[in-house]
C-alpha cells in the first residue's frame, strides 16, 4: 500500500479512548490484585506504560476502520477533479463514502478501510474485489489528490478511475503491514483483521506469553528485539518500511522511495550494522509518538559525533568510538543532515534518512 503512516501531531479521540481503556486495565494489575475474572488479560495488564503510549503511536493507527477516522470526520466533504473524473468523499454519522463520476455514470462505495494516520489512502471493495483508491487525502493541503504511485494510470473505465485493483499478494502485503492478524498460508479476510498493529504483530508469541503469564508462567517470552543489531533492526522494521535489499532488488530509484527509511539509512556513510547508536530504534521508539522537534534528535547524533574525551586520547580505542564532530553546529543536526524531500505529486514531504553532508544544488542521491 502506498499510503503513508506518518503520524499526525494531534492524537485521535479513538486513540485516547483506547489508551484510557488500556490504562484502566493496567491499573488493576498495578494495584497488586490478581487478575479479575471479569477483566480480560491484555498486554496492558502488565505493560502499563508502554501500552498507554503505544495506544496513540502511529503504527497502532496504521489502519483505521470505517467510521473511526478523525481526519475524515474533520473534513466531511472532500472533492477533487483528476482528468475527466470527479471525486468526492463524504463523511457523516460515522460513515464515509467514496464517489467517482465521469459526468454520466457514477460509482459510490463505502470506505471500508483507511490506510495511514496522516496521509490516507482508502481500500474499497467492489464485486468481491479490493481496490486501492485512486485518490488519497493529504492533510498538509487538506486535499484529495492522486495516490502516490498511481500518477501514470490513465483510467479507461469508471472502475479504473475509482481505484487500482489489488492482486491477492498486494492485498496481503498491504493488510499485513497496516493491520494485525494476517495468517500465513490462509486466505486473507480483512473483516477478521484488527486495524493497526497490535503488540503481537511485532512481538511474535505475545498471545502465548500473555496466556502463560496469566498463570504466572514466564517461560514463553517473545523473542527480545533489544538484542538485534542495527542491520537486523533495519531488516525487522524493513518488513514494512522496506529493507535496503528490497529496494535494491527492485531497482527502485528516485525521491518516491525516500519514504523507505531503512533503505535510506543503509545508504548513509555512518550506518554500520554492529553499532547500535545508528539504527531505527536508536532514534525512534515505535511505542511512542514521533517527535517532530528537531532538537530531540541532537543527542542521537552527538552520541557518535562528539569530541573525544581527553582521557581517551591516549588509551585504547573505546567500545563506542567517537566520530568527527560537526564544525558548523551542535544542535538541530537533522535540519541540515536529513533534509525534507518532496514526494512526487507535491503533497507530502518525507525526512530523508540518508544522513549526509548536503551540498547546495546537489541532486537527490540514489
Amino acid at each position: 500500500m502506498r499510503s503513508v503512516n506518518a503520524r499526525s501531531a494531534s492524537s485521535s479521540l479513538v486513540s485516547l479512548s483506547v489508551a484510557f481503556c488500556l490504562v484502566v486495565l493496567a491499573g488493576s494489575c498495578d494495584t497488586g490484585q490478581a487478575q479479575s475474572a471479569a477483566a480480560p488479560v491484555t498486554c496492558a495488564t502488565c505493560h502499563v506504560g508502554v501500552a498507554a503510549h503505544y495506544a496513540v503511536a502511529p503504527m497502532r493507527h496504521a489502519m483505521e476502520p470505517a467510521g473511526a477516522d478523525p481526519q475524515l470526520t474533520a473534513h466531511p466533504e472532500l472533492r477533487a477533479n483528476v482528468g475527466k473524473y470527479s471525486y468526492r468523499i463524504q463523511t457523516s454519522d460515522g460513515r464515509s463514502t467514496y464517489t467517482v463520476t465521469d459526468g454520466v455514470n457514477t460509482v459510490t462505495l463505502p470506505i471500508r478501510w483507511i490506510f495511514g494516520q496522516h496521509s490516507q489512502t482508502f481500500v474499497l471493495e467492489k464485486d468481491g474485489h479490493l481496490y486501492e483508491s485512486l485518490v488519497s487525502f493529504y492533510p498538509r493541503d487538506n486535499t484529495l489528490a492522486v495516490t502516490p504511485g498511481d500518477e501514470r494510470i490513465v483510467p479507461a473505465t469508471l472502475t479504473q478511475a475509482m481505484g487500482r485493483e489489488l492482486s491477492l499478494w498486494e492485498s496481503r502485503s498491504c493488510f499485513n503491514c497496516h493491520a494485525t492478524g494476517v495468517v500465513p498460508g490462509h486466505q486473507l479476510d480483512p473483516e477478521k483483521l484488527a486495524p493497526g498493529l497490535d503488540c503481537q504483530r511485532c512481538h511474535a508469541g505475545a498471545q502465548q506469553h500473555m496466556a502463560d503469564a496469566s498463570r504466572n508462567s514466564f517461560a514463553t517470552l517473545p523473542p527480545s528485539l533489544r538484542r538485534l543489531d542495527s542491520e537486523e533492526i533495519s531488516a525487522f522494521c524493513g518488513q514494512c518500511h522496506r529493507t535496503w535489499d528490497t529496494v535494491v532488488r527492485n531497482h527502485w530509484k528516485g525521491p518516491a522511495f525516500v519514504r523507505f527509511q531503512p533503505y535510506r539509512l543503509g545508504n548513509s556513510k555512518c550506518f554500520i550494522g554492529n553499532d547500535k547508536r545508528i539504527s531505527c530504534l536508536a532514534c525512534h521508539d515505535p511505542h511512542q509518538q514521533l517527535s517532530h522537534d528537531q532538537a530531540y534528535y541532537d543527542s542521537k547524533c552527538l552520541a557518535c559525533h562528539r569530541a573525544p574525551h581527553p582521557a581517551s586520547a591516549t588509551s585504547s580505542p573505546p567500545a563506542s568510538p567517537a566520530y568527527k564532530p560537526c564544525p558548523v553546529a551542535k544542535s538541530n543536526c537533522v535540519s541540515c543532515h536529513m533534509p525534507k524531500v518532496d514526494l512526487p505529486g507535491g503533497h507530502q514531504q518525507f525526512t530523508d534518512h540518508q544522513i549526509r553532508i548536503v551540498r547546495p544544488g546537489e541532486p537527490y542521491p540514489d
Binding site: 498486494e170 500465513p184 542495527s230 542491520e231 535494491v248 550494522g273
Partner: protein
Amino acid sequence: MPLARHDLAACYYEVKGADMGPAGSEFSSGIQPAMCLPNRLKSVHSRLPRINPPLLAYLLLATFAVALQPATGQNPSPSFDDLAARAAAARDQQNISLALDLYAQAEQLRPDWAEGWFYLGLLRYQANQFPQAIDGFNHLIQLQPTAVPAIALRGLCEFETADYDDSLRDLEMAVAHGAANEPRNAQIIRFHLAQLLARANRFQDALEQYKFFATEHVDSPDLSLGIGLAGIRVTTLPKDVPAQDRPLFQQAGEAGYAVLAEESERGDALFQALFSQHPSTPNLHLFYGFLLFPHDPSLAVDEFRSELGVAPANETGHAMLAFSLMITGRYAEALPEAEHAYAASPTLQMAQLALGRSLAETGEIQRGTDLLNQVLQKDPNNLEAHLGLASIYSRTGRREDALRERAVCLKLPR
C-alpha cells in the same frame, strides 16, 4: 558459428532504424504478407486463435532490407541482373517454383549475393522445404554472420526438421539480439523458443517467454499446453503429449497463464482447483510457487513447503524453499533447507547463495562469506552475493567493505 554480440546488435538496430528499406526498393515492396507463411506454420498458428497471422517473413525482411545490400558493391553481370529481375517478378507473381529456380541460377553466377540466398531460404520456408531453406540461410549467414532475421528464420526451420538443439541456439540468439522486439514477430519466435527451452529443462526461461503472451493477452489451448508443460517441468514438446495427458497440462497452463497475466484471483482459484483434483501430482505447488515468487516470496514459501509435502525428494523444491526463505530474511528457517539443497547440488548457484547468506546471518560468518565469494568468482555481477556480503560486512563492523559492496549493488545493471 561465433558471433560477436555487439556486431549482431549493431546490425540489428541499424536495419531496425532503416524500417522498410529504401523507398521503392524491391526489398520493401516485393513481399506480400500473405505469401510469407508456410502452410505448416500457418496450421500451427491457426491453433492460436487470438494471434494475428504472423507476418514474420515480411517483417523480418523489412528489417533486413538494408543488410541485404550487395556485399561486394560490384555491378552484377547482365545475365545476373536479368536472372535477379525475373526471380523477383516470379516471386511477386507467387510463382514460387520458378522464383526458386531463377534465384538458384543467379546464385550460381554470384554466390556472394546475400539477397538471393535470403529469398531462396524464405521461399523454401514458405514451401515447407525446411532442409533446403536451412541451406539457403546457411549461405546467407556465412556471408553475413550478423543477419539476425536469417538466424531467426533458420531457427524456425530447424524446429520443423526436429533439429531442436540448433533451433534453440538460433532462436535464443535471435531473440537476444532483438528479433522478437517487433510484436508480430514475437509471437511465432517466442512460442517456438518457449517450447524448446522447456524441452531443454530450462523451465523458468520458458515461462519467461510464455509470459509475453499473457502480458499481451494472447491466449490459446496450445499456449496453455505449453505453459502447463513448462510449469510442471515436463520436457515433452506440446505436439508429442499424448491425448490422455493433455487435460492436466492444459489446466495447469490455464492457471499459470492467469497468474502470468496478473489475474491473481482467477489464477489462485484455478490452482486451488488443480491442487484438490490432483493432490499427489508433483510440481504443481512448485509451479505456483515459482509464479508467486516475484510478487511475494513469502507466499511462494508456502507453496514450496506444500510441494515438499507432496514430493519430499523434490530437490528443486528444497532449493527454491531455501532461496525464498533467504530472500524473506528467515535465515534460521532457510539454513536446514539450504544445507539440504547444497548437499544435493553443490554447484547450484541458488543453493550456494541461500546457504552462504543463511550461514553468515546466523553466525557462521566465514563459511557463509566463502560461499558468497565462491558465487562471485563465477558470476561477478551476482546481486544476491553482493547483498549478502554487504550485510555481513556491516554486521561485523567492516565499514569500508560494506560501503564498497553496497556501492557495487547500486551500480549493477538490472
